[in-house]
Amino acid sequence: MADATIQPAERGEDAHHTSLGLSNEKMGMWSLIGSECLFFGALISTYLIYLDRTADGPGPSEIFDIPFTSVSTFILLMSSLGMVLALAAVQSGDMRRFRVWTLATAGMGSVFLAGQIYEFTFFVEEGFGLTTSAFSSSFFVLTGFHGVHVAVGILMLLGIWAASLTGRLTPSHAGTVESIGLYWHFVDIVWIVLFTVVYLIPAE
């Protein structure tokens, strides 16, 4: 993938010649994402294996509130748009707009997390907790880990926001923003898979 358009910015950023012409940061992020695919793969496999192991506890079709989760899913997916706009802003050198969109992206991620916390509390009150069954354990650990990833993404966004305030992050560091954007989009894409597998498919 030769990003002819972003190349100049990247050159300024680290002034390194790299063998593949791709910045180290971006390639590191791609490697990490490859690793994360197996992480979520293992969690999703576990969930699918345990889908009917409810041990007389609530099953998937009895407990999930699909309209509620659809709304928080929508907000999370919109945050990807915020990320794109933040990257576009830093690439065009508009640091004020970059900070606005970075915070907006982090904010949408936080709303999603809050929704998940609410959902978890609601489930536990309904008698569907981590210890209820193998199914419940795999549900909470799978979606919980996704939540942890969103939280890590929010911390990274706050990091680049703070870095742009101190002047550590300038338009020449658009590559850094792009790498964090890759992570953020990846976490969103994983949620599309999870939302489909966990919420939509069992509802049929």
Binding site: S19, S31, L130, V141
Partner: protein
Amino acid sequence: MTTTQEQPTTGGSAFRRPKATTGFGSWFTTIDHKKIGILYFATAFLFFSLGGIEALLLRTQLSSPDMAFLTRDQYNQLFTMHGLTMIFFGVMPLGSAAFNYLLPLMIGARDVAFPRLNALSYWVFLFAGIFLYSSVLLGGAPDGGWFAYAPLNVLGGDPLGETLGFASEQSARMMFYSLGLQLAGIASLASAVNFIVTILNMRAPGMTLMRMPVFIWMTLVTSVLMLFAMPVIGVALWQLMFDIGYGANFFNPALGGDPVLWQHMFWLFGHPEVYIIILPAFGIISEVLPVFSRKPLFGYTAIVFSGIAIGFMGWGVWAHHMFAVGLGPVANAAFALSTMFIAVPTGIKIFNWLGTMWGGQIRFRTPMLFAIGMVAMFTIGGLSGVTHAIVPHNYQQTDTYYVVAHFHYVMFGGAVFGLMAGFYYWFPKVKGRMMDERLGKLHFWLMLVGFNLAFGPMHVLGLQGMPRRVATYPDGMGWNLWNLVATVGGYMIALGFLVFVINVLKSRKGGLPAGDDPWDARTLEWSTTSPPPVHNFNEVPVVRTRDDFWNRKYASGDPSRTPLRVPSGGSGEAGADAGDVAHDIHMPDPSYYPLVAAFGMPIMAYGVLFTPILIAVGGVITIAGLFGWALEPSAEEH
């Protein structure tokens, strides 16, 4: 990478970045890959020795029937810790030490792609080891075996997940297993990302993938395996942690959990892990054999592609660890076949190594002895490995000493012999001094004879039906003689390592000066000074062929040799002359933050064990460390 000049940044950090690159304090802040490599080696060797002492205690207990030297509980803890230590804190990080030190030197780079991430990886690894061993003081070490079959390892006296506390003392011990390995996994993952990016992105101009030294290729395959295997065991360990600590039911059959899931996940990681351990040794051997045979490596392409093939096929054989589970004839047959197939690329390598030596002018120096020993011992281990692939045999052999014999021939005879070959080979580069040959040869022979005495008889013991993991055995089973021989062999290995330590301490300061290229070697690291300067190369080399350094030394048959050497400023001698050149090369400054970020992680792990407050404290420290890291200026202005 032609320059390391960093973009000067505006703004500043509240803290001054540490500058010192020498002295005791610099070891805590260093981000120089060579110093991190040395730290990795020293730490890993310490853990390796600890694992060795544990092995000696085990062998002492088994030296004669009905021994009461250790209690059953102590024995269980010791063999668990022996396995964990050797695999995760001994042999694997010894490979990492070699990667760290050599990778940039061999590809003609000044540094790894993410120097501070490298430091983080080391500190997390160190803290993971300390965390795991702290269990000894806090109620006992893990005692569920290194593969910790769930839920056997968590079912103590009480039912699983009874309260938010721990079901039993034993499950608390297994929490150390879960958390300690998760920490070690973070370290592995960080270095895997770092090495992959470094290899793919930071090669010297002209060094195409097919011109890379085989060691670098094996580093790449190993790193890719780590990158994909670590998350799988990570998930299994998290699930174990939730089961023990928070009452989840992943492996609890009473509420729908499936114990076989643990085995699948564990071995889906565990088999690639075997290759993560052995591939670095394959790489080392492929560098050592040609140099001491004075011939190019025979079949470079075949060796590289068989390494890649192993990297892929290593994923398709995990269930051969589980034939006795009863997965059914179809699964057993499929995995029997795949297991036999994976012997093919390994066999290709062995024939290529033999082809390299064939007709060469072999110099039997210590590194070469270890390399030849590795080829021989690994072949024996490989052959007994093929016998496991035959399912009916496997039923007989599984969980007997035959398996112990097999994997020690592969892991010890393969990986450790290979690493020792590498150590003797590269020591002159690291220290600028030669190792003592006589002590080196004594080490080799003690180790070779001791190794075969210790593990050879275990084949017989296994076929005679002696199970593994038994704390003692009755008299009259016909096992007495071979157990005694194995114990004697174990002590001989220990003696060999004692000689090794003496040799290192002696040669570190008092060895003969090595010069830049003592072995008349082929790869780029020998074109710089010994020890290399902080910036590795005064001028980044341009590579035109495979074995470029060697080809230039012998260019057009010129006996005076024209080594691949920096033309500028008479840099043949390190120090004063190189200083002028070095002045313009700016390396990134050392940093406190990797240490800070890593320090928070074991605190979080203790928090899982004791109180959530510690999780929060550790989390804050780690996040603060990472923020400090992200916000610190990339370089102070000079």
